[in-house]
C-alpha cells in the first residue's frame, strides 16, 4: 500500500495535467466476494489512462465505480472515496444522472439500442435536453458521429437500425453516442475486444484524437494497445493496484515483479 502511494508520487510525468478523478481507499464487494481492496488511483485530465491486469482482477469493477454503474448491480457495496474534480461522487446528495452525463461509458460488447443510427446518437442529447431544436440536435448528432469517425460511413443510412452495422461500426456508434452528451470523462471497457485489427486500429486512432477534449480511462487486455494509446497505465492484480505510472516507463522498467511477470507474459 505504501509502495503504491509512493509510486503515484514518484512517477508523475513532468508535464502533469491536473487530476480529474481520484480514488482513495476504495473497497468494493459483491456480497461476500471482495472485488477491490484499498485502490488509490489518480486519473489526469486529457490523458488516456489504461487499466491492465489478468482477468478477474477488478479492472471492470473499478471502471464501473467511476460512474457508479455498480449501483445497478444487486448486492454491490462500495466504500472509500471517489472524486470527480475534487467532489465525492458517492455523496448521498449527488445526482447520479448528472454524474453519468459527465462520465460516459463504452462497453466491451457493442450495445447499440434497437433504434435507428440517428436515434442512437440523439438519445443522450434528448434526455439531457442538450438541443433546443431539431437543427441543433442534427448538429450534435453529426458532430459526434464525425468525432467517432463514423459519419462518412453512415451519412446515407441514418434511419437504419443501429444493430444493422458491423461490429466495429457498432462500437464507434456507441462511442458517438457517449460523445454526444459531451462528457468530460469517457470510460471504455475493453472496447476493442470484439473487433478485428482494422476496426481496432480505427478505434485506437479515435481514442488518440479524443484525448484532446476528453479524459479517457480504458480497460484492456492488450498490452500493445495499452502501450499505443495510453499515457499512463495502472496494473491491477487480485483487486489491488500493484503499479501505476507513465506508460512507457511501466512497460520498459516495471518496478514490481508481478507487473514484470504479467507484461512479459509469464502469467495472467
Amino acid at each position: 500500500m505504501e509502495a503504491q502511494t509512493a509510486l503515484i508520487g514518484h512517477n508523475r510525468p513532468a508535464d502533469a495535467t491536473p487530476v480529474k478523478m481520484a480514488t482513495r481507499d476504495l473497497d468494493v464487494s459483491y456480497g461476500a466476494i471482495q472485488a477491490l481492496a484499498g485502490v488509490e488511483l489518480d486519473i489526469r485530465e486529457n490523458e488516456v489512462t489504461a487499466l491492465i491486469g489478468p482477468s478477474g482482477c477488478g479492472k471492470t469493477t473499478f471502471l464501473r465505480c467511476l460512474n457508479r454503474m455498480n449501483d445497478t448491480i444487486e448486492g454491490c457495496v462500495v466504500s472509500g472515496l471517489v472524486t470527480l474534480d475534487g467532489h465525492d461522487i458517492y455523496d448521498r446528495s449527488l445526482d447520479v444522472v448528472q454524474l453519468r452525463a459527465r462520465i460516459g461509458m463504452v462497453f466491451q460488447k457493442p450495445n447499440p439500442f434497437p433504434k435507428s443510427i440517428y436515434d442512437n446518437a440523439a438519445y443522450g442529447p434528448r434526455i439531457h435536453g442538450l438541443a433546443a431544436n431539431r437543427d441543433e440536435l442534427d448538429e450534435i448528432v453529426v458532430t459526434s458521429l464525425e468525432k467517432a469517425g463514423l459519419w462518412k460511413e453512415v451519412r446515407d443510412r441514418m434511419g437504419e437500425p443501429g444493430t444493422s452495422l458491423s461490429g466495429g461500426q457498432q462500437q464507434r456508434l456507441c462511442i458517438a453516442r457517449a460523445i454526444a452528451v459531451s462528457p468530460e470523462v469517457i470510460l471504455m471497457d475493453e472496447p476493442c475486444s470484439a473487433l478485428d485489427p482494422i476496426a481496432t486500429a480505427r478505434i485506437e486512432e479515435l481514442i488518440d484524437e479524443l484525448r484532446e477534449n476528453y479524459t479517457i480511462v480504458i480497460v484492456t487486455h492488450n498490452m500493445q494497445q495499452a502501450a499505443r494509446v495510453s499515457q499512463r497505465t495502472a496494473f491491477f492484480h487480485l483487486g489491488q493496484v500493484v503499479e501505476m505510472g507513465d506508460t512507457v516507463e511501466l512497460f520498459t522498467n516495471p518496478q514490481d515483479e508481478r507487473t514484470q511477470g504479467y507484461i512479459t507474459g509469464r502469467f495472467g
Binding site: 449527488l94 439531457h128 442538450l130
Partner: protein, 433 residues
C-alpha cells in the same frame, strides 16, 4: 444537491438544475405510477379474497344437535330377519322422531311434529343408517349422537339469518326457536368442524353438500388439459418460431392462433360438443372431454406466450450452440426452450388458471350438472369447482351462499398450489442476460 461544477458542454445549455429537477420529478412520478398500479391490483385482490373469506369461512363449521337415539330393533328390522340388506331400507327418520318426541313430549300435532323434525337435517337419517350398517351391535341400544342440524337452523345459529324479524319473514318459526333455545340451554347444540364439506359430493341439502366431487373432477379435467395443451402448445410455438419458414402459410397460422385466443369460450364448448360428443361419441359430462375442450381453449394462450418467450432469447445463445455442432433440434431442446421456460410457464399458468375457472364451455358438454357421486375416473360424469360455485350461487337455499364462497376458497387453494409449482419452476429457469 452538492454544488457540482457545471461542465463545459453543459454550460449554457438548458440542462440546468431546473431541468434535472423536472427529470427527477418525472422519475418519481413514474415510480409512483408503478407503485399505484401494484397497490390497485393487490388491494383489489385482497378486497376480493377478503370478502370471499369473510363470507365463506362459516361454511367450514356446522351446527350439530345432540340427541339420545334408541336404535329400536322394531324400526330397523321390523320382521326380525337379521338381514343387513333390509336394514338399509328401514325408516331411520322414525328413530329421530321418537327421540325428539321423548325430548319434547308436549309436541303431538302432525304440523308441530314436522316443525320439530325440521330442526334436524333431513339427511341425518342416512347418517344413522350408516352407523347401523357399520356396527350392527348398536341395534337395541340407546346412544347419545351428534346429528347435523338442518341448514335453516344452522344459518340461524350462525347469525346469518336474523331472529329479530316478524315470524312470517323467517323460515325458522317461533316454536322452533323455542325448542332450539331449550336444546342450547342444556348444551345439546354445538358448532363443529364441518369435515363433510371436504369429503362429500354435491347434494341439494345444503348441510350435506360437499366439494370433493368437484375437486376430483377439476383434478382430472386439469390433468387432461395440461397433458394436451402444454406439449402441443409448446411444440407448435417451437415450430413456428424456430423452424417454420416465414411465409404466407405461417402468417396464416399466426393470425389464426391469435384469433383463436379471442374466440368466446362457449364456442369452444360448441366445438367440443360437435367433435368429441357428436362425432366421436365420447361420454357426456366426462372430465376427459372437458379437459380436451379446455385444452383447445388454452392452446392459443400457451402458444402466444411461448412464442414471445422464444423470440426474446438472444440469437447469440442459438449461435453458440449451433457452433459446437448441435443440431437445430438440439439447440431448441437444450438451450432455447429452457431459456424461454419462464415465459412458457407464465403462459401455461395463466392459461391453466383460466381453464380452472371456466364454466361456459363445459355447459355444452354436459358438465354443468348436478352430480352427487364422486367420479372414479376421467370418464365418469363429473363437474368442476367453478361449475359447483356457479350452481350453488344460483341455488335458492340461503345456506348455499356460504358454501359458494367456501368453494371459491377451495378453488383458490387449488389455484395457489398450481401457481406455487409454476413459481418454483420459473425461479429455476429464470435469468437475465
Amino acid at each position: 444537491m452538492t454544488e457540482f461544477a457545471e461542465s463545459r458542454g453543459h454550460v449554457g445549455t438548458n440542462d440546468g438544475a431546473a431541468r434535472r429537477a423536472r427529470r427527477h420529478a418525472a422519475e418519481r412520478r413514474f415510480r409512483l405510477y408503478g407503485i399505484l398500479a401494484i397497490v390497485v391490483a393487490v388491494s383489489f385482490l385482497v378486497l376480493l379474497l377478503g370478502s370471499i373469506a369473510v363470507q365463506g369461512y362459516t361454511a367450514f363449521t356446522a351446527t350439530q344437535i345432540r340427541l339420545d337415539v334408541t336404535f329400536e330393533p322394531e324400526v330397523i328390522d321390523p320382521e326380525g330377519t337379521g338381514d343387513p340388506e333390509l336394514w338399509a331400507g328401514a325408516d331411520y327418520g322414525a328413530l329421530i322422531r321418537h327421540s325428539l318426541g321423548a325430548r319434547f313430549p308436549g309436541v303431538r300435532e302432525p304440523e308441530e311434529v314436522r316443525a320439530l323434525m325440521a330442526l334436524i337435517s333431513s339427511g341425518a337419517r342416512f347418517d344413522l343408517r350408516d352407523m347401523v350398517l357399520d356396527d350392527p351391535g348398536l341395534i337395541g341400544t340407546t346412544r347419545s349422537v351428534w346429528l347435523p342440524a338442518a341448514a335453516d337452523i344452522d344459518m340461524l345459529v350462525k347469525g346469518i339469518t336474523p331472529r329479530d324479524v316478524p315470524e312470517d319473514a323467517r323460515r325458522v318459526k317461533d316454536n322452533q326457536i323455542a325448542w332450539l333455545d331449550a336444546l342450547v340451554a342444556e348444551g345439546a347444540v354445538k358448532r363443529a368442524l364441518h369435515l363433510r364439506f371436504f369429503t362429500a359430493g354435491d347434494s341439494r341439502t345444503p348441510e350435506r353438500a360437499g366439494i370433493w366431487g368437484a375437486i376430483v373432477g377439476s383434478f382430472y379435467t386439469m390433468m387432461v388439459t395440461l397433458a394436451l395443451a402444454f406439449p402441443i402448445g409448446v411444440l407448435t410455438a417451437v415450430y413456428l418460431e424456430e423452424f417454420a419458414p416465414k411465409n404466407r402459410w405461417t402468417d396464416l397460422v399466426e393470425i389464426n392462433i391469435n384469433n383463436l385466443a379471442a374466440v368466446p369460450s362457449i364456442v369452444f364448448g360448441l366445438l367440443g360438443l360437435a367433435v368429441f360428443l357428436n362425432v366421436y361419441h365420447l361420454p357426456r359430462s366426462a372430465p376427459v372431454v372437458g379437459g380436451m375442450t379446455l385444452a383447445l381453449m388454452t392452446l392459443p394462450t400457451i402458444i402466444i406466450a411461448t412464442r414471445s418467450a422464444l423470440a426474446a432469447v438472444p440469437p447469440s445463445l442459438r449461435e453458440a450452440a449451433l457452433a459446437i455442432g448441435a443440431s437445430p433440434l438440439q439447440v431448441v431442446m437444450h438451450h432455447t426452450l429452457p431459456a424461454a421456460m419462464p415465459g412458457v410457464l407464465t403462459g401455461t399458468i395463466i392459461g391453466m388458471a383460466r381453464a380452472l375457472g371456466e364454466t361456459a364451455p363445459l355447459l355444452m358438454i354436459g358438465m354443468v350438472a348436478f352430480i352427487a357421486d364422486i367420479p372414479g375416473g376421467p370418464s365418469d360424469p363429473a363437474t368442476v369447482l367453478p361449475v359447483q360455485v356457479f350452481l350453488w350461487a344460483g341455488s335458492p337455499e340461503r345456506a348455499f351462499a356460504e358454501k359458494t364462497a367456501a368453494a371459491t376458497l377451495v378453488l383458490l387453494v387449488f389455484l395457489i398450489a398450481m401457481n406455487g409449482l409454476a413459481v418454483y419452476l420459473r425461479k429455476k429457469f429464470e435469468k437475465r442476460w
